[in-house]
């Protein structure tokens, strides 16, 4: 396999090379003509063509014309990242009969043209990379996609608005949904809110929990839907299996329950930051509350009537200070990320409070006012007109002195230090991933980002690489109610598309075993994180042999390195293919020295 090895898959098929100029983005920084001249010296290469935009319509037609007239089987491309337009390039060739596994695209744009200023150096590097691609595709084997059956049922983890919306959409498309919620009721955090942007004082049909709000899914709809099985007070114990068929073990109040589903929507949601982690804000004081707690007070007050009363003595607060970015944009005691919605909802709460207690002085202390949503600017202007004071400066401390409270703040616009009496301090707390969501992430092998929220998927990849698991809502980062619901709909749509087809053609970038070389030692089985390998008796030759479940295998290659014999390798990432690429790169570097 190494040494001077001639691989049995290396054929005499000629290779067609396409170089994309990317409308000067590449051709302006890399001398493609020169690259082409160098490459043409390689006897394995049939032709080298340069085009300014392979991903464009003309580019696609050009490719089709090339393959039809020249009839090559293998293609190497030097262009942008293969994960972006590479699919378009390969697809148009696939449509004309090329086996997509005999295709290799290297990045000479983001990883070459755009990062190396010296044109001569960039050209040399591009030559190396394309040579590497040629050497690699020369050793690639033609393969067929795997056909994976998808079960027509879905698991939705989390019964908040995101989970409910996904469940409704999937059920509406005719598939069975298991909606799992660990608390005793649906609705999640949204249903504890008194209002959602941009409504803040609709009062008309606002039956405490905004159930009639057009944006939110209704609990009754979910409970009455025949296709949705709601499992409350239920936790997920384990999820096994692979793409299209996941075995779920649940812990319900009445015992264990096992299910098999085809797709999973992860809507585990978020929780708010615990202000106790910033002791100088004195959260222990009864009149220092979070915006979530303020919501409860607002709801309670609407029922009772009259103005808002503060928790400690039931008096109406004269001065209210909203502290923004509590636990957010904070490297030391909180999280670095901005939670997106706090500015918006704080202004809403401030306006509502002002409406209830017109005599109160309301201050909002902010660093920046971030309002990503449509209608925010108007909302903010109205707030100012209603007399709410906006102070640009971060609150450093809430001070308690002789039974009174005041807020140490600063107005950076006026360059003034402020000390404002406060009857009520409201902390606008940021969002964090919900408790236990990391456990679900681990179970489903979902990566988390630096901010600890789940990464749905690398956005550069086609959706099939999610393998039927979709993250929606605040589980993948702070967002508002409306956007969580839209997220839910998008995830549901993807899941429905998958289940409707009943099967999915999936790239065969998975491990395979050369049975003759396999010793049945089991190191691969131990290494696999997806339980995709099992050691079974070898019927034909006796002894033990390794067997791969292609559906569960994610193609990571850990087994290939663990196997000391290299009896296991990953299709298209075999040792000799990677080595060929490296050797070609080095050879080219040396010949141009």
């Amino acid at each position: 396999m190494t040494g001077n090895g001639s691989d049995k898959d290396s054929t005499t098929n000629k290779i067609a090379v396409f170089l994309c100029g990317c409308r000067n983005e590449i051709s302006g920084h890399v001398d493609l003509e020169r690259l082409a001249t160098e490459l043409k010296k390689d006897p394995r290469i049939l032709s080298v063509s340069i085009h300014e935009a392979l991903c464009s319509k003309e580019g696609q037609l050009f490719l089709k014309k090339e393959i039809k007239s020249k009839g090559f089987a293998r293609v190497a491309v030097g262009a942008c990242s293969p994960n972006i337009q590479g699919l378009i390039v390969s697809r148009s060739l696939e449509e004309e009969g090329m086996n997509k596994y005999l295709f290799e695209q290297v990045n000479i744009r983001e990883q070459c043209a755009w990062v190396h200023r010296d044109k001569a150096e960039a050209t040399k590097k591009a030559t190396r990379l394309v040579r590497g691609a040629v050497a690699r595709v020369d050793r690639q084997s033609p393969l067929e996609d795997i056909e994976i059956p998808i079960k027509p049922s879905a698991l939705v983890i989390g019964g908040g608005v995101t989970g409910m919306q996904s469940a409704l959409d999937i059920a509406g498309a005719g598939f069975k949904v298991y909606l799992v919620e660990r608390t005793g009721e649906l609705g999640g955090r949204t249903y504890k809110l008194s209002m959602t942007f941009p409504t803040h004082n609709c009062g008309i049909c606002c039956m405490q929990y905004c159930k009639e709000c057009v944006f939110t899914p209704k609990i009754e709809d979910v409970l009455q839907n025949k296709n949705i099985e709601v499992l409350l007070e239920t936790e997920i114990e384990d999820i096994t299996g692979g793409f299209g068929s996941r075995g779920v073990t649940l812990r319900t109040p009445t015992g264990k329950k096992e299910l098999e589903v085809g797709t999973i929507i992860v809507a585990t949601g978020s929780k708010t930051f615990d202000p106790k982690r910033i002791p100088e804000l004195r959260y222990g004081n009864p009149d220092v509350i979070t915006t979530v707690e303020l919501e409860h007070l607002l709801v309670a007050q609407r029922e009772k009537g009259g103005g808002l009363k503060r928790p400690s003595d039931g008096k109406a607060p004269q001065t209210v200070n909203f502290v923004q970015c509590v636990g957010s944009r904070d490297k030391t005691k909180g999280n670095l990320h901005c939670s997106l919605v706090c500015c918006t909802y704080a202004i809403g709460q401030a306006r509502e409070l002002k409406r209830m207690n017109p005599g109160a002085d309301v201050y909002i202390h902010y660093i920046d006012l971030r309002g990503p949503y449509r209608g925010f600017e108007e909302f903010y202007q109205s707030a100012k007109e209603e007399g709410i004071n906006f102070v640009r400066g971060r609150v450093s401390e809430v001070v308690e002195d002789k039974g009174k409270m005041f807020v140490r703040a600063v107005d950076t616009d006026l360059d003034t230090l402020l000390s404002i009496d406060s009857d009520l301090v409201v902390l606008a707390v940021g969002q964090e991933p919900a408790d236990g969501s990391d456990k679900i992430a681990k179970m489903l092998h979902i990566q988390t980002d630096i901010d600890k929220f789940m990464k749905d998927i690398n956005p550069m990849f086609p959706s099939e690489f999610r393998r039927g698991i979709y993250v929606a809502g605040t589980a993948q980062g702070p967002r508002g109610v409306r956007y969580s619901i839209e997220d839910a709909k998008a995830a549901a749509a993807s899941a429905i598309e998958l289940m409707k087809k009943g099967k999915k053609e999936f790239p065969r970038i998975v491990a395979f075993v050369e049975e003759d070389r396999c010793r049945g030692c089991g190191r691969c089985e131990k290494t696999c994180e997806y339980e995709a390998i099992s050691i079974v008796p070898n019927e034909k030759k006796g002894g033990l042999v390794s067997k791969i479940d292609e559906v569960r295998c994610e193609g990571c290659g850990a087994c290939a390195v663990a196997c000391c014999n290299k009896a296991i390798t990953v299709n298209n990432f075999r040792l000799e293919q990677v080595e060929a690429m490296v050797r070609a790169i080095v050879e080219e570097a040396e010949s141009s020295e």
Partner: protein, 541 residues
């Protein structure tokens, strides 16, 4: 063009975080040196140490691996595995003198484009300081004509006596490989050679399937040097691109070729402890072999500490009042390259080692490793003529010392285990050493020594030669061998060959296709067992 050294760097980037961070650097036009060539892999955990070593062998100056943040691998734990492997590879690099600073790992989030550029910049700067590696580049072999090969094969047939083969088939009946691989037969390869194997020489797999144990040589009534024939055929085949299927992704052979092609500042003597006496010059040269490398390569195998062997040997020699020469400049004896057809590199290693021993003034070279012993005794002398120093295997040497009274073989303990001795083929059939290990077994006094059914020149090989062609059949042969030991009641099986130890341990360590109690035997090195018996080394914890 600038005279500055421009290092060639390969950056293995994982598909999920490494590669996108590089692309993002591009999107943001964050510049970094063009020396860095990006090769995309699925996971950093799939980067094989064999590929890395192969890169260096072919001219790469530095390898950097980019993967996801350490607790956030897209494939759960790939990056952690990569970190472990590269840490072990770094140790090997330091032993070899390649310098571990030429390897770097960087765990990065897909969005950290500045870090990507920064890491590559720093790495290239560091490599510039380290300079290029003095590994001589492989010149492409002179193209051979078919006639030349036919002549060479004809000569080979004559030299090895293959011409005398009467096709009796006795070789095939004793061949351990033929027992399980019904497609393989020593007899037919000779036949094919005489009938014109040359046409297909590069693709012929049978010449690589042979484990060169010389069981056939020993039994052949016409004294055909069958293993010599195989060795010669492999040399011819490799000219045309034929190659062995190597284990460890070719890591070990790459390591050996690098040693052959470069004079690096090695660091091999980490196993020499303070209370051991060794010298630069002297009468006795102890040839260590590849033991320091194996401990780096097999870092994840439990119970494998190959450097115990060299330690045990020196301690026993010290006890006999001998201060052996131990050299940091030693290179691999070349056994594996010799047996897989790479004659050029083998000869380079041979010349180096012979010169090294000469310079030390040694009159005698002692080997614990049977392969090193056979290589010096037979292969070096075949090519270079009689060597100006004596060659002796450790077992014979210790026997001499014991007989002359210089070494008192007094056991400091009374072992009660039952043990047997495995005749490694390179020591037994290849070199004729059978008796001393058995004589020395008497020193184990209270322990019981038993012989297996197949011993001496009928001993069964450990089934893998020169790290190539290990497969399911090899495992069956290995299991059979250990079962043999268990059958005669042995708790332990002692041997001198480090490779036999590695292979037999490997076979019984993980899943086995038989009842595990049938292979419940402790595989142990003879030198180490002897050192422990004499109280010179502690028992295994």
């Amino acid at each position: 063009m600038s005279e500055r050294f421009e290092p060639k760097v390969i950056a293995f980037t994982c598909t999920w975080c490494g590669y996108p961070s590089a692309s993002l650097a591009g999107v943001n036009k964050v510049e970094y040196p063009p020396n860095v060539n990006i090769v995309r892999v699925m996971c950093s955990g799939s980067v094989d140490p064999g590929v890395i070593m192969d890169s260096f062998e072919h001219g790469v100056d530095g390898v950097i691996v980019f993967g996801c943040l350490i607790d956030n691998c897209h494939y759960v734990s790939g990056n952690k595995k990569a970190q472990e492997r590269i840490d072990a590879l770094k140790k090997l690099f330091d032993v070899m003198g390649l310098d571990s600073r030429r390897l770097r790992t960087e765990w990065i989030n897909a969005s950290e484009r500045v870090r990507f550029a920064q890491a590559t910049k720093e790495f290239v700067e560091q490599l510039r300081d380290l300079g290029p590696l003095p590994i001589s580049r492989t010149k492409k072999a002179k193209p051979r004509t078919k006639e030349q090969t036919v002549t060479a094969v004809k000569q080979l047939i004559e030299d090895t006596g293959a011409f005398d083969c009467v096709e009796c088939g006795k070789c095939t009946t004793v061949c351990p490989v033929a027992k399980y691989d019904t497609n393989f037969a020593p007899r037919t390869i000779v036949l094919r050679a005489m009938e014109g194997i040359v046409d297909n020489i590069a693709k012929d797999r049978d010449i690589w399937t042979c484990i060169t144990c010389e069981q056939c040589n020993a039994m052949c009534p016409y004294k055909v040097d069958y293993s010599g024939f195989i060795r010669g055929m492999r040399e011819e085949a490799s000219i045309f691109g034929g190659a062995a299927l190597c284990s460890q992704g070719g890591l070990i052979h790459s390591t050996q070729r690098i040693m052959a092609k470069a004079d690096l500042k090695q660091n091999r003597l980490g196993w020499v402890k303070e209370d051991m006496k060794v010298a630069d010059k002297g009468d006795v040269f102890y040839f260590t072999g590849c033991l320091p490398h194996y401990d780096c390569i097999f870092f994840d195998r439990q119970g494998l500490r190959m450097q115990d062997i060299s330690e045990g040997a020196v301690r026993i020699m010290n006890k006999a009042g001998i201060v052996p020469v131990v050299s940091n400049e030693e290179k691999c004896c070349g056994h594996d390259l010799n047996w897989t057809g790479d004659e050029d590199d083998f000869e380079k290693l041979m010349e180096h080692n012979i010169e090294l021993v000469k310079k030390s003034g040694a009159k005698k070279v002692v080997f614990t490793c049977p392969e090193c012993y056979r290589t010096f005794k037979s292969d070096y002398q075949d090519l270079s003529g009689d060597l100006p120093f004596g060659l002796i295997h450790f077992s014979d040497f210790v026997k001499e010392l014991a007989d002359s009274g210089q070494l008192k073989l007094q056991a400091t303990k009374s072992p009660t285990f039952t043990f047997s001795y495995h005749d490694s083929c390179r020591l037994g059939r290849h070199s004729g050493v059978y008796d001393s290990p058995r004589e020395l077994a008497k020193a184990f006094s209270s322990a019981k020594f038993v012989e297996m059914q197949n011993t001496r020149d009928k001993a069964v090989c450990c089934a893998v030669s020169a790290w190539s062609n290990c497969n399911a059949n090899a495992k069956k042969i290995q299991i059979d061998r250990v079962v043999e030991a268990k059958k005669v009641g042995a708790d332990r099986l002692l041997m001198f060959c480090p490779k036999c130890q590695i292979h037999l341990k490997c076979a019984i360590q993980d899943k086995v296709p038989v009842d595990p109690s049938l292979v419940d035997v402790k595989i142990e090195d003879y030198t180490v067992a002897l050192a422990r018996l004499l109280g010179l080394m502690p028992e295994e914890s």
